[in-house]
């Protein structure tokens, strides 16, 4: 049980002398509160696994500190950190039974036999592994093996946090959500800090109460799923989260008005002090742009196709060269090749050099 603080933490596999831009993890300072359910979300190679391995101690950081409850544990080895980690592929000890697998971390730490047995029994109950306790672990299916990996983390009573490195990759789809809800339930019951690495936004958004989005070695935003959806702090977050992702189009912004291809769009806030020389873009989620019949006051776009997702339809359109997605309101039937776009001003955001600019009311 611990709060985890990262202080100016950075890592480069090429050593400390490498160019700052080549760091696998660029300097980050953040706090993971005790008992939180976090997801580290980002595409492959964004540094999320590096960050996870730094916390667990498998990788030693090039610079910066990691604090558990305020105590610096950066130089400590993995064994001494009270961290549990579940890997992408189930790791089980082939020669042991399920029970012996679960007991392994305790046995290594010299816990008395009676206590080990009690603890293993408890964790096996929790994970529904009791019927398999005396079976060889190698004879189980991938999801049961992954539960064993998880169980080896849970079995230690002193564990500060459990880290998951894309743990559901090898699990069948229908078992995925079962295991994920199991994790959620465990999180509620045990009050453990859990950090879950994934590149699947559904997994991240359903599991976590705080999602940390990483891109190119940087943490670009951390917030609740709703925050990430409503107010992406970075164009990457807008694009990566949501299906389809946020529309990002170059624009000229002046005061309460943005111009896309010369056409004015109203904004709900005023942007008077934009950094000079920055690349200005506006971002708006497809959910907040409606397709309408072409009309003189509306931004017109060329319709390429309609995606019917069942519950909702999205039109894929083009404004000049820029691709754009917009909602097709229920009952609206698309005719012709062009359409007008109706924007919801309170959900149109302005980005300077990919970062969100807060306007003034």
């Amino acid at each position: 049980m611990a709060r985890i603080d990262l202080v100016d933490l950075a890592h480069s596999y090429g050593g400390n002398d490498a160019a700052p831009e080549s760091f696998a993890l660029k300097p980050v300072t953040m706090t993971w509160r005790q008992g939180g359910a976090y997801a580290l979300l980002g595409p492959s190679g964004c540094g999320k696994t590096t960050l996870l391995n730094l916390i667990s101690g498998i990788v030693t950081p090039s610079r910066g500190q990691i604090l558990f409850d305020g105590a610096d544990i950066t130089p400590l080895s993995t064994q001494k950190r009270n961290i549990a980690q579940v890997f992408q592929f189930p790791v089980i000890y082939d020669t042991m039974t399920v029970g012996q697998n679960l007991a392994f971390p305790l046995k290594n730490r010299g816990v008395p036999k009676a206590e080990i047995d009690a603890r293993v029994k408890q964790i096996a109950d929790l994970l529904d592994l009791t019927p398999h306790l005396d079976r060889k672990a190698t004879r189980l299916t991938a999801d049961a093996k992954q539960k064993i990996s998880l169980g080896r983390g849970l079995v230690r009573s002193d564990v500060a946090a459990i880290l998951f490195d894309e743990p559901l990759t090898v699990i069948d789809p229908e078992l995925k959500w079962q295991l994920r809800s199991k994790l959620k339930a465990l999180h509620r019951d045990l009050d453990l800090t859990m950090i879950y690495v994934t590149h699947d936004q559904t997994e991240a958004l359903t599991f976590a109460d705080t999602v940390v989005v990483m891109h190119d070695g940087r943490v670009v935003q951390s917030g609740t799923p709703a925050e990430l959806f409503d107010k992406p702090a970075h164009t990457f977050v807008g694009y990566f989260i949501g299906s389809p992702g946020m529309n990002i189009v170059p624009a000229e912004v002046r005061g309460r008005e943005a111009r896309i291809s010369g056409h004015p769009i109203a904004l709900s806030r005023s942007y008077d002090t934009l950094p000079p020389g920055a690349k200005i873009e506006v971002g708006v989620r497809p959910e907040f742009v409606d397709v309408a019949a072409p009309a003189p006051g509306l931004l017109s776009a060329n319709i390429e196709r309609i995606d019917d997702l069942g519950r909702v339809r999205f039109a894929r359109v083009r404004i000049g060269d820029a691709k754009f997605a917009a909602r097709v309101p229920p009952g609206f039937s698309v005719s012709g090749e062009t359409a007008g776009l109706v924007f919801n001003p309170s959900h149109v955001h302005v980005y300077a050099d990919s970062r969100l600019v807060e306007g003034t009311a």
Binding site: N53, S56, G57, I58, S77, T78, Q79, I83, A84, Q85, F87, Q88, F89, V91, Y93, D94, T95, M96, F104, P105, N108, R109, T138, R139, L140, T141, A144, S149, R152, G153
Partner: protein, 300 residues
């Protein structure tokens, strides 16, 4: 669809059949034929039935005594070199670097003894161990250790064993190294997190993951040491006395030294049978160990 009957297809099998017949079946049948007969030279043969086989398995006869004694020596030799080479090979594999340029260097050095012909290995050690001019023999003797593989049985055994260890530990080490390399990093990381000691990592991860290559290593080393001929023959010639006369050396003595074709044929058949049985046992064990895997997945 109807099956096309085309007897000409037999011609495709014929070359293989001929090669196998001439290379394996005919020689083997010749040996079976010899093993049932006795000869006094001049190409004159007399029927002896299973007489040689009876003698072979009866320790009170000359032939049986020699065969069983050499078989015992051979089994002892195989046991000793397995007991040394397998653990030593594992230790060598464990202490090899996992990556970097040094891997290539280690692999080349390890492979060197394997590339040397048996005959040359024997000659190297024969000279190396000589008390008068050999580096090893001379050094040991000048240290006050009375070492002479020509006259002392223990010294002869020690030389032959050390030579085999020198020659073949690399093979075990290379096989083990391949086994170790195939273990994903996640296992080591998980073991670190589980607080496993070095020894626990070895017994819980490395050894179980190596068990298949180890089986192959044991099989190869057993077969090879059980059939060993050239190296001890070059170094000790089977002596002093009969102390390092292994089965194959005994066989050659009987067949070519005494020209007792009947006895030699019977001996080689029994020898062959032992090797076949051991092979079969190993094969069964190995396929059973492998067969466990597919069953696992569907077990849940």
């Amino acid at each position: 669809m109807d099956k096309t009957i085309n007897q000409k297809a037999w011609f495709l099998v014929l070359p293989v059949f001929l090669v196998v017949a001439f290379s394996a079946i005919l020689p083997l049948m010749t040996v079976v034929n010899y093993s049932m007969q006795d000869t006094f030279g001049n190409n004159q043969f007399f029927w002896n039935g299973v007489g040689w086989f009876k003698e072979l398995l009866d320790p009170s006869t000359d032939l049986g005594g020699r065969f069983l004694a050499s078989l015992g020596r051979n089994l002892l030799f195989s046991a000793i070199i397995l007991a040394i080479e397998v653990p030593l090979g594992i230790v060598v594999a464990l202490s090899m670097p996992r990556d970097g340029w040094s891997v290539a260097a280690c692999l080349v050095i390890l492979a060197l003894p394997l590339l040397i012909p048996w005959n040359v290995v024997g000659t190297i050690w024969q000279i190396f161990g000589r008390p008068d001019i050999g580096l090893l023999g001379y050094t040991l003797n000048s240290l006050g250790i009375n070492y002479n593989y020509v006259s002392n049985e223990f010294d002869a055994w020690a030389t032959v064993i050390v030579m085999d260890v020198w020659h073949w530990t690399s093979l075990v080490a290379l096989l083990c190294y391949a086994g170790l390399k195939s273990i994903p990093d996640a296992y080591y990381q998980a073991a670190q997190i589980d607080g496993a000691s070095r020894w626990a990592v070895f017994t819980a991860i490395q050894l179980p993951k190596m068990n298949r290559v180890l089986l192959i290593a044991v099989l190869l080393r057993f077969m090879d040491s059980f059939m060993i001929y050239t190296e001890p023959f070059v170094v000790t010639g089977g002596g002093p006395g009969n102390s390092t006369t292994f089965v194959s050396i005994e066989l050659v003595k009987i067949a070519l030294g005494q020209f007792d074709l009947g006895k030699a044929a019977a001996l080689s058949l029994v020898y062959n049978l032992i090797i076949l049985i051991v092979c079969w046992v190993f094969y069964t064990v190995m396929t059973n160990a492998g067969a466990e895997r597919p069953v696992k997945q569907g077990a849940e």
